[in-house]
Amino acid sequence: MSEPILRAIGLSKQFGTAAALVRAVDDVSLEAAPGELVLIMGPSGSGKTTLLSMLGALMKPDAGRIFIEDVEVSALREGQLPRLRANKIGFVFQSFNLLAALTVEENVLFPARLVAGGVKAAGARAEQLLERLELTGRRRALPRTLSGGEKQRVAIARALVNRPTIIFADEPTGNLDSRMGQEVMMILRSVARDQGCTVVMVTHDSRSEEAADRILWLEDGKLRDRKTDTHVWRRDPVCGMRVDEWTAVEKSRYRGRDYVFCSHECLSRFEASPAAYVLATGQE
């Protein structure tokens, strides 16, 4: 393994006090190499987002150290962090977080104002990204007119425009249907493989495992080894995707039987008309 881009040593974060004390992240250490796509998985409330917030320099750890390219992020003062975030880090979120008043192109160029050369220098780069992510025809569109997949592609382009060394993605497929989710995963995979940009991704989505170089399992704030035989593959009755029952978050019970889903979208569709899906797939 080459020199890691990201190193976290003994990270801890707790919230509350006394009886209400919660150890969200407890003595976690990890590394990620250039071009590596690392998945952080785990059940809800396991501390994944807290860990990602600390790794992305948005939250200070109570204990431990974080290095990005040999810069000790956890030792930087508050006033030094914005520059680091602007130059070294890209973010992709589940809820896209596009700026509603700006067009696709303006959203992509938004962080470029923070780096040397500004928007002018980033113009060609944004152009490339729009083309590569098939957004050229939508460059003047406002976010409200975009599909979920398009929004996430804009968010990815925005994360890449300043040529970051690492991207932190929080459930990037969570609000997408299975086809869009797969497309986004392929893009992130390509970002890591082709550009050498490290991608650290928090997800519930077991379909993402296939694209990952490495999977870390976080539970009760601690990184644990996941047993290899814990997969229990089931079919999502809505889209037909293979879903690991053990890690699936979206679940529903209908006529005494449990069903698992790849995404919240599929769960919602199922709950609107369960009989239709059960009969169609013959799962009853």
């Binding site: 917030s53 589940q94 700006l102």
Partner: protein
């Protein structure tokens, strides 16, 4: 951030318009109060302003007209006339009293004038005669309208019944309307004998009012002589001391209202855009970028509100005297500029207050689903 700030403001026209209209209403309220204040301030000294005298001479120790009493011997008028540089002299009698007209009572300056004086009477007429003979009165046209009187009707001044022979323009104010009667009538009513209240002096070209007043004070015993502009200044100061407090309070309330509306609008904008501000922080924008964005939004809302208020003022204010002729309004560029400056201060204040909210926006909220 500046670009985002403006685009995001203009992307929601309804919010922008409602915020700006709120600010405009508050500013308009202040502008109306100020226009009333300015109008009354000017109207209070309209009589002095419109007399053609360079110097006003009065009883020693008296320095104004509003609510004042001045008596000096009439023989001082010819003595003043002999002073070098004096070309014209006229004397008036004057008292503050309540005049009854059309069943209503009006606080009024009663000015007794000689029919052949070079100045001191009504300066602009709506109808009828400008100089009253004995038993006659010239009343403000606004008093006539509000009392339902016209030429030929009578008014009562103290115990005298006087016939209206003329209606004057520009002589009404809420604090001091001016009614002109014959000096002999007023002398009898006041039992003034050979006394007059003020001597109005016109100087020759080439001599300043200041020098003329000094010569009069040196040449005539026990008189006070003030150049017209100084007399106006003293009189306005005295009059405003007596009646301006309420208007000042109203202006303060209006300004506070403008501050509150502008503040609330910007505060709402920050709360409403909290997630976008959090994103900006997560991407690497600093607090100062965000302050600048919020400041720009506040300034835009205030500028738009101010512009609407100015347009509203110039549209609405000419209509107010048609509905309420007793109100004297005057919009000065100075007062508009002053309000504009207040607007900028409001913006700064609002941003200063909001600064804490901006710094409290946690970039981690971008992870909320």
């Amino acid at each position: 951030m500046w670009y985002w700030s403006l685009k995001s403001l203009f992307a929601e026209p309804l919010r922008l318009i409602s915020g700006s209209l709120g600010v405009a209403c508050a500013f308009l309220l202040v502008m109306v109060f100020q226009a009333v204040f300015e109008g009354e301030s000017r109207q209070i000294v309209a009589y002095i302003q419109n007399t053609d005298a360079d110097v006003w001479v009065m009883q020693d120790g008296v320095e104004n007209m509003h609510m004042a009493s001045s008596l000096l011997w009439n023989w001082k008028a010819p003595r003043i006339a002999r002073i070098a540089g004096v070309t014209e002299v006229a004397s008036i009698l004057y008292m503050n009293t309540v005049m009854s007209a059309g069943g209503k009572r009006w606080f009024s300056y009663i000015v007794g004038v000689d029919e052949n004086a070079f100045t001191g009477g009504a300066w602009e007429m709506t109808a009828g005669e400008a100089w009253p003979q004995q038993g006659e009165a010239i009343v403000p046209d606004v008093v006539a309208i509000l009392s339902g009187l016209s030429i030929g009707d009578t008014v009562q001044v103290l115990d005298a019944e006087l016939r209206i022979v003329g209606l004057s323009r520009g002589t009404f104010s809420m604090a001091n309307s001016v009614t002109f009667i014959n000096k002999k009538d007023l002398s009898r009513l006041m039992d003034a004998g050979e006394a007059v209240s003020y001597i109005l002096v016109k100087g020759s070209d080439g001599i300043s009012a200041q020098d003329l007043a000094a010569r009069i004070k040196t040449g005539v015993d026990k008189v006070s002589a003030l150049p017209k502009q100084q007399f106006i200044h003293r009189d306005r100061e005295m009059a405003l001391q007596m009646g301006s407090e309420i208007i000042r309070i109203m202006i303060t309330i209006g300004t506070l209202l403008a501050v509150l509306i502008a503040g609330f609008t910007v505060y709402y904008q920050v709360i409403h855009k909290q997630r976008e501000l959090a994103l900006a922080k997560a991407l690497g924008f600093r607090h100062r970028h965000i302050y600048a964005g919020v400041f720009l939004q506040a300034a835009a809302i205030n500028a738009l509100g101010y512009g609407l208020a100015v347009a509203g003022a110039y549209t609405l204010m000419p209509m107010i005297p048609l509905v309420a002729p007793q109100i004297s309004l005057y919009v000065s560029v100075e007062s508009l500029v002053r309000l504009g400056v207040i607007g900028i201060l409001v913006t700064t204040l609002v941003v200063f207050v909001l600064a804490r909210n901006v710094t409290r926006v946690d970039p981690v909220t971008v992870f909320q689903r």
